[in-house]
Symmetry: C2
Subunit: 431 residues, 2 copies
Amino acid sequence: MTSAGAKNAAASVNLPVGFACHVGNIGMKDETDDVMVLASSRVAATAGVFTKSLFAGASVRLSRANVADGRAQAVVVVSKNANVATGEQGERDAANLAQRVAELVGCESDQVLVGSTGVIGVRYPEGKVDAYFDKLAADAEGTVPAAQRADGPMARRGGPTGDGNVEDVSHRGGQGLWKADAAAAAAAIMTTDTHPKTASAAAGPGSVVGIAKGSGMIEPDMATMISVITTDAEIAPDRLDAMLRRVCDVTFNALSVDTDTSTSDMVVILANGAAGQVDEAELEAALGAVSLDLTRQLAFDGEGAETLIVVNVNEARDDAQAKRVAKAIVNSPLVKTAVHGCDPNWGRVAMAIGKCSDETDIDPGRVRIRFGSQEVYPTPATPEALGELEAYLASDEVLISVDLGIAGGAFTAYGCDLTDQYVRINADYTT
Amino acid sequence: MTSAGAKNAAASVNLPVGFACHVGNIGMKDETDDVMVLASSRVAATAGVFTKSLFAGASVRLSRANVADGRAQAVVVVSKNANVATGEQGERDAANLAQRVAELVGCESDQVLVGSTGVIGVRYPEGKVDAYFDKLAADAEGTVPAAQRADGPMARRGGPTGDGNVEDVSHRGGQGLWKADAAAAAAAIMTTDTHPKTASAAAGPGSVVGIAKGSGMIEPDMATMISVITTDAEIAPDRLDAMLRRVCDVTFNALSVDTDTSTSDMVVILANGAAGQVDEAELEAALGAVSLDLTRQLAFDGEGAETLIVVNVNEARDDAQAKRVAKAIVNSPLVKTAVHGCDPNWGRVAMAIGKCSDETDIDPGRVRIRFGSQEVYPTPATPEALGELEAYLASDEVLISVDLGIAGGAFTAYGCDLTDQYVRINADYTT
């Protein structure tokens, strides 16, 4: 599995059998890659979770509709422009993008999911999407669309066959239009990310490979920033959907960079069945590992962040209470700045627990707080231990543990420190 | 009324008739003033609102008990140490402080309210409080305690008489122990504040004078940082309590610097009746004006803040919905950094509204957003108007207005921008 420990680790990983990606520059903002198309060689079982934002963008609304039948064949992600709050023109732009990708891949447009992140309230530059796909079509003249190059239009096959022997578009040349490299796909969807984020895990005869982007405006609300996960395992859409929701709850939804929920969040998974059936527990474990890995990478690459903060709350009344307390701690600007200042100021952790004033069964007299393995409350740390904690807080990853002393509920939340750099990045972003 | 417009305005205002303050240095942390005693020449009608934090400190717990009967004669506020999470010793320290102040003032110890802010989890330096009050008592040898110098022990008078002619301790010499200067009292309770905060307003024949401190760890939860308000108006405790709660809801409780709720928040008001009865509507207007003025000063002096942000939400389903939306906007790190960067990035305001995902009756199609008087959504601002907005966002005070287009609910929230300096102050605070 890809490690999130090293902030700039360049992960080299291929997409699972039957998946390929295309990356390029439409010209949304500058000359860097700003479009990524990920296609399956046949229709895949698909599930997605999306932002609950009331200002959800045109892409999210279109994807929500297209994922409803549990089947999709391609995902397109545009970066540098969110296509949010762009009115009816934004709806048409999202639909047109899906249509152009469907033509490229050779599938139906309602089997294309669309993601888009970047600036809010600005429509896509007029004509650039069509110009880009016109040029792609001209370049690919005479080649067979991705989905039709294997054994006929996958869109009409009615879903995965489980034969494990689908022709693998990702390993064919095709004029360089399609690649198997997940890192290239991850790089093309970056906005303020400092490095591409990929993760992979084996699942029996198949594999799970995920990519993700996002480093600010991150506090997923039953959804998250953009992550696209692929697997060649075979699984029914409804079981995939339930599995994705269980996994998201303890991974992407346990993440917060700045308490701000994006209008463009989405996590989608495509399972094309090329590797045949996989033990579901094993698949869920692999999906969980990939999602957690990506979550940690996102937290560690939070805007301006220097430290990954993991908050582990135990002995809560239930998991939901543990989650509320863990989120209060990981979101507290004062806890985040204390970690940034390498200051073992546990009083701010106590303050953050205290903020959860609806949790009246929390008794400060039963609470225990630790930094790493060092208890700091109620047993005070010795001056020597405090000195060691300052060094510990300067490391890449800091664990804050809280026992509430009530029952067996537990939750782990992921976040990052708050730095001068976060302020600079966000004060200087658009103008 | 004192203006909050000028950040370093030195307000010179005397406490109302019958009130006096004493300030000094106990040695909690350094040589600056760290104790303030505010006393009434007789028992005053009293009301208070306190933090809802589960980790409420010993001072808050003691004050909550002592304010319950609606009567008090003195308030003592210690700065540089919160006496929070200090166990049973902390309880004894708070009780001892109240006792020593009672002896100084000449009242019962259960008529003393105690406030304390500063570092959490460290007990008062041993012996220093007693040494300080021993010395005060020795210095004052031969002088009459404050409350006994007028017409006998006020504590046994049974409350305000309404004669408007109580001897005014605040204007006597008394070896310089007592002063009438509200700014001196406000200065003595500062922690990371950059200037003392006072406000005053006339109320018929009397006046309302308030002081406040606080610039970080501020998101009051039905209470606030520390504010002490005095009036010589005569009013029954139960009516004073109801009035204070109504006023706090739209002033101190509309304030957020960083979403972090202090363990030490309190607002108390003492009404000693020296000016006799005052029309209650007039008194409430004066209390509202003083509280709003202090709230704006607190927001403007938020840690590291350069800009006061006022968020005005109208046309909500009800005031409660308007408050949730206004708080989401004023608390958004991305809105706060956009203002800091003078960036009219209204997409972040839309994002913050969108975060209120439980408010399903909010329709983005009916929402309107303005910076100052300039609409930015749904009607886009012209390039010229955007240029003017950049200049507007560089001013001392920025107004963000949102109309939800639902009904008549409204709320105004107060906050500040998020700056590099906030991070530096809080990364460097204790160690």
